[in-house]
């Protein structure tokens, strides 16, 4: 149910962007070339290096978005998405060049030495003043994390979390995920910051903590290494959306957005998400 609405949201967002760019999304076109107005054929795309697509990300690039800090491997969710977009635009794997750009540099105004950057950029109005974003390729999911020694580590469904003491930061979608989706028997614990919540988790005062998925990967990977991801909660509230970042008023924005929209409509993005976030990175879907 939730996944269907997310697919719908991605599709809609893609469709809107495509429509505003003056193209109609092609339903059954074998090639990604869009026929109206602006051509998105590989030969006519004004990329930095003609015939090549230069994609940027940060150094180091973290799991599970990239694998082993090697974006060119095609492994990891964002690497896979980047290659899928490149393929939609007609670039073979050999035509893709990677470059490294710091996160803060990328969202700052000014000329960019990449065609697009993929680095977990949340799409915000503020950032849109300085840069362009493609249609969203990922809607952030809320995730339950727990200590490996916790009673809820390894549970598989939402129903199994009903008896858990869960916590979240105040005023966040994470808190909504507890009250609206998981609905545990015990009152959720609320904290001023994720730092306080993490401390309570470490102390064993909480069975599980709800944070968004990128934060969950960071906490379990770098901050609390004896914590593990229990699973992803169905979509709730108004999630953050990740978009590909391009230079302000880049001539590529509409084509890249169109490609992302088509990938969303075809269900490719959902498959990649399933494969790299749920299966490989171990953030299973709780239903």
């Amino acid at each position: 149910m939730a996944s269907r609405s997310r697919l719908l949201a991605l599709t809609l967002a893609g469709a809107v962007v495509v429509a505003t760019a003056g193209c109609a999304p092609q339903k059954e076109l074998p090639t990604p070339t869009v026929t109206t107005g602006l051509s998105c054929a590989k030969d006519s795309l004004p990329t930095r290096t003609p015939g090549k697509l230069t994609i940027a990300t940060d150094q180091p690039a973290y799991e599970p978005w990239f694998s082993k800090d090697k974006p060119e491997s095609g492994e990891g969710f964002e690497s896979a998405v980047a290659y899928a977009v490149a393929e939609k635009l007609g670039y073979a794997r050999a035509d893709v060049a990677w470059t490294r750009v710091k996160f803060d540099t990328a969202i700052a105004p000014g000329p960019k030495d990449f065609d697009f950057d993929i680095n977990q950029f949340s799409i915000t109005e503020e950032r849109k003043q300085a840069v362009d974003f493609s249609a969203p390729y990922y809607l952030v999911r809320q995730t339950v994390i727990a200590l490996k020694s916790s009673k809820i580590a390894g549970r598989k469904s939402l129903a199994e979390l009903r008896d858990a003491r869960l916590g979240a930061q105040v005023g966040t979608t994470s808190y909504q995920a507890i009250t609206d989706v998981i609905k545990p028997a015990a009152k959720p614990q609320v904290y001023n910051s994720n730092d306080d919540a993490k401390k309570a988790l470490q102390n064993g005062q909480l069975d599980g903590l709800v944070v968004d998925l990128p934060t969950a990967f960071y906490i379990t990977g770098a901050e609390i290494t004896d914590a593990t991801i229990v699973g992803q909660v169905p979509q709730v509230g108004t999630p953050e959306a990740f978009g590909l970042l391009l230079d302000k008023n880049s001539p590529l924005t509409s084509c890249v957005s169109g490609a992302v929209g088509q990938l969303a409509a075809a269900g490719t993005l959902k498959e990649l998400e399933q494969k790299w976030l749920a299966q490989v990175a171990g953030a299973a879907e709780l239903r």
């Binding site: 105040v170 005023g171 966040t172 808190y175 609320v190 309570a200 470490q202 005062q205």
Partner: protein, 281 residues
């Protein structure tokens, strides 16, 4: 001539009539000045250019209605905590004050410890005490760790016990030494003297500031919410985050004032009674 046959003189009648007139007159003046001030305030606030926006975001009746149940259930936590912590802090304060006023060189370490306690906990910001107790102590992973509410309560009792101890001590030291000397000369032991002569007078004298600290405690118990539990203000914060409207805070504020009114009324009454007794009334 009995009291019943008493006929007030002409002058007395004039005097009481004058007093009645004066009373009516002063009530009328008070009513008029209050009405004038109220009108001025209403005009100033509702005539302000931003009044409409403020009213929408702080005084929305529908949002207030929706937020009331959750804020009330949060307030119930405040009330329970307040009762337990007030009793605990009064006891701790009294014990510490008695320890600080013990006589004799043998009790020096006890006096020093009690003094150190009041210095420390009056100086330490409550939030830091709360953090240490509610997030620090459970990190020790000891057996039988009490729930976070109990730990938060302990933090409040420790902090407010420090304030109340000083209030009690001021009361004890305000009892004139002749009282002590008289009690001892009657053959009472030190303990009996404290119990029957000094403490009753001391507590009566400092009842107003004690209650004042309890009123302050009422607002601070909500701070345990930083360790997870949802109190009235936290419930209002959550409701505000969901609606982007500050009305829930106003609801919580009104409930807090309503909760404080009985306490403050008792404080005023006790103060008045103490003042009357002091002035030999």
């Amino acid at each position: 001539m009995t009291l019943l046959d008493h006929v007030p003189s002409e002058a007395q009648l004039r005097r009481s009539a004058y007093r009645r007139r004066q009373t009516v007159y002063s009530v009328l003046v008070a009513a008029f000045s209050t009405a004038a001030l109220g009108t001025l305030l209403v005009i100033a606030v509702t005539g302000a250019p931003g009044w409409d926006r403020v009213r929408r975001s702080f005084l929305d009746p529908e949002i207030a209605r929706d937020a009331l149940p959750t804020v009330l259930s949060g307030l119930w936590l405040n009330v329970r905590l307040l009762v337990c912590c007030a009793v605990g802090a009064l006891l701790v304060g009294l014990v510490i004050a008695v320890l600080r006023t013990l006589r004799g060189p043998v009790f020096f370490p006890v006096r020093a410890l009690a003094a150190g306690y009041t210095y420390t906990f009056r100086g330490l910001p409550l939030i830091i005490v709360l953090y240490l107790l509610t997030l620090g102590v459970p990190g020790l992973r000891l057996q039988g760790m009490p729930p976070v509410l109990v730990l938060g309560g302990v933090a409040l009792v420790l902090t407010y016990g420090g304030y109340l101890a000083e209030v009690f001590r001021a009361g004890i030291e305000s009892v004139h030494s002749s009282q002590l000397a008289a009690a001892r000369s009657l053959g009472l032991t030190y303990r009996q003297t404290m119990r029957h002569v000094v403490l009753p007078q001391a507590v009566r004298r400092v009842a107003p500031p004690l209650l004042n600290d309890v009123v302050a405690l009422q607002k601070d118990v909500g701070l345990v919410s930083l360790a997870g539990p949802i109190d009235a203000v936290r419930a209002a914060q959550i409701a505000t985050a969901q609606t982007f409207n500050y009305t829930p805070y106003v609801v919580a504020g009104v409930l807090f004032v309503l909760l404080a009114i009985p306490l403050i009324a008792v404080t005023d009454w006790v103060t008045l009674r103490a003042a009357r007794r002091q002035s030999g009334g």
